[in-house]
């Protein structure tokens, strides 16, 4: 699915959080959304996910303006994984993943064979089959995040949006999650804190600063030493590691930068 964002702005309580963003994400791409805290990543993601109505501008799925769509219609196109969405519940992992079937369910109908097959596949894809009957509260942070991803996959979405999915995960789970994402055929837009992960697993990056999109393109084109200094305030550079993957080498806080 192609996701198009046209001069999108979003304000809350008089403050403009996202300002005039243009972006295009191509079918099957895995795109990373990066930027410092408070740069408007989460808000942009929520606008793209149809959860917030843009103040001005347009979001298009495959060319169709989604303004006015009901939640169900959006949910059949795109899945959204909130940042560390938690529940005080005894839901089991399989129940959580089955939530992904909500947009396809009739009001009065219980899960059918298709629902079960899809949930089953999503569980296995996320490596959660063995944990299917575990309760939510008994899961570790990494397991919870995988469950959310499986839930998103169970939506059979054309696109998946994720807000900082690697937060609070240990390094192994971060890598596993990113590998899972990169392996899907669907269009993925994921906001990330970790620039190395973004550089390594994303086809393209969108760099935000103070609500505006300051750069788009391949990781090595976006994360130049100048932008790393100006936007993130660090003295760093992107370079291939011995295995040939891009990695960020930090030398410290930049001498002069924001904050």
């Amino acid at each position: 699915m192609r996701i198009t964002v046209e001069n999108l702005s979003w304000s809350a309580r008089g403050t403009t959080v996202v300002r005039d963003v243009h972006a295009e994400i191509l079918p099957g791409e895995t795109v990373g959304l990066i930027g410092p805290n408070g740069s408007g990543k989460s808000s942009l993601l929520r606008c793209v996910a149809g959860l917030r109505a843009p103040t001005t501008g347009t979001v298009r799925y495959d060319g169709e303006d989604i303004r006015g769509w009901d939640a169900r219609r959006v949910a059949r196109r795109i899945a959204f994984v909130e940042q560390s969405a938690d529940a005080d519940s005894d839901l089991r992992v399989a129940d959580v993943v089955a939530l992904g079937r909500t947009p396809f369910r009739g009001r009065w109908r219980g899960p059918d064979a298709t629902d079960r097959a899809v949930v089953d596949a999503a569980l296995r894809h996320a490596g959660l089959t063995a944990l299917a009957t575990r309760t939510w509260r008994s899961l570790s942070g990494g397991e919870r995040q995988r469950a959310h991803l499986a839930r998103a996959l169970a939506q059979q979405p054309w696109g998946i949006l994720l807000d900082e999915p690697t937060n609070h995960l240990d390094i192994k789970h971060q890598l596993a999650l990113m590998e899972l994402l990169a392996a899907t055929d669907q269009t993925v837009l994921v906001s990330l804190h970790d620039l190395s992960l973004a550089a390594r697993y994303c086809d393209r990056l969108l760099l935000m600063c103070d609500g505006t999109l300051v750069a788009t393109g391949a990781p090595e084109d976006v994360l130049t030493p100048g932008r790393l200094r100006d936007v993130f305030g660090i003295d760093a550079a992107l370079a291939p590691d011995p295995a040939g993957h891009l990695a960020l080498t930090c030398r410290g806080v930049a001498a002069a930068g924001p904050d």
Binding site: R72, A75, I78, R92, W108, A183
Partner: protein, 375 residues
Amino acid sequence: MPVSRAPAGSGRDLLGVLHPSARALPGPQPVTPPPVATGGRLSRTALGLLGTAALLLSVAASVRIGSADVGYGELGRALGGRLGLAVEPLPPLLDSLIWDLRLPRVLLAALVGAALAVCGAVLQAVTRNALAEPYLLGVSSGASTGAVVVVVLGIGAGSLGVTGGAFTGALLSFGLLLILLRRGGLDSLRIVLTGVIVGEFFAAVTALILMASGDADTTRAITHWLLGSMASARWDVVVIGAVTTVVGLAVTWACAGALDGFAFGADTAASLGVGVRATRATLLVVTALMTSVAVASVGAIGFVGLIVPHGVRFLVGPTHRVLLPFTALAGAVFLVWADALARIAFTPREVPVGVFTALLGVPLFLLILRKRGEL
């Protein structure tokens, strides 16, 4: 640079099922038996039959219990006569005791129990708070105030009726609660404290109305009613209760999927295709309606909405499609027995049934708080 290495052991066929292009395909068979149906919890069919049987038996058994013991023979004669069977009619007063008082009372207890328990389950999901319940959130107090305004001051007695007054009061207290909770998170202690404040406010308004215009006898009658008593149950109330409970159950059950979605908050629910505002509004109005019909007919009975859903969740799990019907069943059984106990525990005196539900509910409430580390 991107790595498109699939995790070991997954394979494209698996991804195929998850891909949107697979949606149109006729239902593929699960590769392994669905794990959802097992998991140490009792079989739902068995539990459903058990629950229905328990409800029917409870109703039948508790119809016999009261200040006057009614035998099955007499019960048969009272029912048989109305079904046109050739049975020897009962003396009119005994017939009236069974048909006009006891039967409607037991049925009303079942209906109100089901409604209040379902309200609790729904509010717990919508507010994402294990302690939400009409009584604790002050909704029952609001409904009581509305009912007292109609009964004592006579405002809206013609147009609204007691139920309408209770409904208005319930909506008002809900509104006040939501306004007070607008800012800041919905952590459970905060919701409960706010609910207590709202409840206290409406209780004070009720007391003020009673003070200002009720004579001592009215005050006593209303105080008794506010504690929750089934004594005024009649067929007309049962009909209203049945309609409300059935409609309420149908609406909430239709929202079962949405209620599950609320588990991870409003944004996740919306991203799953739940119309959050509309669903929330519908559910709050329906719970307010069920609560107010309950309050208008039998007074403010607390803690049913707390005790029952927690117990049922323990048995059948938190998925609302299953949880709601079982909660309704269990709520009905619970209140039928609580009321039977209220009838006979201190004969010839009758205890307000709300006293019993509170005696059972308060310790459970504390237990939940403690378990959650908030006490």
